[in-house]
Amino acid sequence: MASKAAPAADQAAAAYSPAEMMAAVAARELANGEVVFVGIGLPNLACNLARALQAPDLVLIYESGAVGAVPERLPVSIGDPSLVTGSLMVCSMADVFQLFLQNGKIEVGFLGGAQVDRWGNINTTVIGSYDRPKVRLPGSGGAAEIAIHARRVVIISRLNARAFPAEVDFLTSPGQRCRGRTRTELGMPGAGPIKVITDKGILENDPESGEMVLTALYPGVAVAEVKANIGWPLQVRPQLGLVAPPTGEELRQLREVLDPKKLFLG
């Protein structure tokens, strides 16, 4: 949904694509044994990368009802038959949303969106007004309730100013502050988006204000480059982290095992 980022400036970065970097960074968010609500595309690659490396017992749940999926091919949709075959459990969607998600069993939810704003609110509904949209997007799917209930949410989105406005046109999935009100005031069970993984660096929510602030950069990226692609006056943490590039093993898994046809890493 975000347009392709310009190729990174330095040589080191040229050895891997922005998508590969994002997938590797997202995978590092996952601890062994955690229960993850997985979406298609980069989140799915990240989860299966984590399973192949540090988190073999990661439990992947898809909103389609597959629990503990071990897809033997790259699933191209959230309801791919490869998510069923060999999974631990298949349940109804009523169970997915009531017994797993609303019950508080999901530790991590990955989300993306056409717009991500200053508070980590996500818009996947419309660009423009709801009644007369310039662009009609697919809508919430399960994103609204994942953003509310998952114990923590990780957002994955490429940076550009249109995709990172100060405030979303439509608030599909709540972040840290929704139209002026905090998650606590609104009574939301989960911690909300605690990290935004972009193609240039990582934003994290400031525990006090709830605002998404820049906390780490990818190799070869300058702060100004991030600021130029964000629609609000971006706060920058004094000690900025430097994110390690994908390891050889991360790249091998991504390229040779998980997405050899470059469906999502292209």
Binding site: I40, E63, S64, G65, A66, V76, S77, I78, G79, D80, P81, L83, V84, T85, V90, C91, S92, M93, A94, F97, L101, Q102, N121, T125, Y130, P133, K134, V135, R136, L137, P138, G139, S140, G141, G142, A143, A144, E145, I148, H149, F170, L171, T172, S173, P174, C178, R179, R181, R183, L186, G187, M188, P189
Partner: protein, 301 residues
């Protein structure tokens, strides 16, 4: 008891009427394209079409002019992009289409309420989102024990729900495995249910493994035997999803003329699903499922 087995043509003619609220359910898995195509061929009009993910089949029904209104929670081309006819209808009103929008949990809850014949369903949801502003049917209720304010959605009770299953007997006792979606809830919520199956089996097959039965015959009005009736969706154990077609739909649906040509060739231009399959003899080679049969369990006592 009389057999409920009939043709798709008869089933749609008898049970889907102009102005009805129609649900063809199935989450990625077991979406009955054959039924959607027959509805288009029979030129039903003013339908309210509801399902979580409109998918390509509702995009086709919108393009064909069957739908007055769409009730949904995610309107995209799963894994591939957009639904062209849906987007034109909403962005450019060509043709106009009323929409009523929820999240997946909201749609599941609407079906659950309908299936239980309750007027509403309760969730902890929607706080902070703009969805209740966009849809005033998302409301709240106060817990009589804790005083908490919780979200509600109203029951959905379709006039007719169409469910594709792997197998059923002639009375509509239907068994499903793999992804279950909200098919059970949608069927029980509905005034009439059409069950479409890959295989008609003797009732003894159903009775040999009663825990697999998802839909009991008592709520089924008609049984249609339609092998490969889900293509380009899939049926676990029978055939794979035709991802190439989902990808191709991006281009087809972006262009109204191309979409119309698709409908002319593959929907209006064939008499039924058998003819649709005869046009595409390569599908079997490309998509037929491999065997991976699980062991049975002991029902003895």
């Amino acid at each position: 008891m009389h057999s409920k087995v009939t043709s798709m043509r008869e089933a749609i003619a008898a049970h889907v009427h102009d102005g009805d609220t129609v649900v063809i359910e199935g989450f990625t898995h077991l979406i009955c394209f054959a039924a959607g195509h027959e509805i288009i061929r029979q030129r039903r009009r003013d339908l309210t079409i509801a399902r979580l993910t409109p998918d390509l089949i509702y995009d086709q029904m919108i393009a064909a002019g069957c739908a007055r209104k769409l009730v949904f929670s995610w309107a995209g081309n799963p894994g591939a992009g957009s639904l062209g006819a849906f987007r034109r209808a909403v962005e450019k009103e060509t043709p106009p289409l009323e929409i009523e929008e929820y999240s997946h949990f909201g749609m599941v809850a609407r079906m659950s309420a309908g299936a239980a014949r309750l007027p509403f369903w309760t969730m902890r949801n929607y706080m902070g989102t703009d969805l209740p502003k966009a849809n005033p049917l998302i409301r709240t209720v106060t817990c009589p024990y804790t005083g908490e304010v919780l979200a509600t959605v109203p029951a959905l009770n379709p006039d007719v729900t169409i469910i594709h299953a792997q197998r059923a007997d002639q009375f509509g006792n239907a068994q499903v495995w793999g992804l279950l979606g909200v098919q059970k809830e949608a069927a029980f919520a509905s005034k009439r249910v059409i069950v479409v199956v890959e295989e008609l089996v003797d009732q003894s097959v159903i009775r040999a493994d009663p825990n697999r039965t998802l839909i009991p015959g008592m709520i089924v009005a008609a049984v249609v035997v339609e092998p490969w009736g889900c293509h380009p969706s899939y049926a676990q154990g029978y055939y794979d999803r035709d991802n190439d077609f989902y990808v191709a739909w991006e281009d087809i649906s972006r262009n109204p003329a191309r979409l119309e040509a698709y409908l002319q060739e593959f929907v209006y231009g064939v008499t039924d699903r058998a003819a649709y399959l005869r046009k595409q003899p390569e599908l079997r080679d490309r998509l037929a499922a491999k065997d991976l049969i699980c062991a049975g369990v002991n029902y003895g006592f």
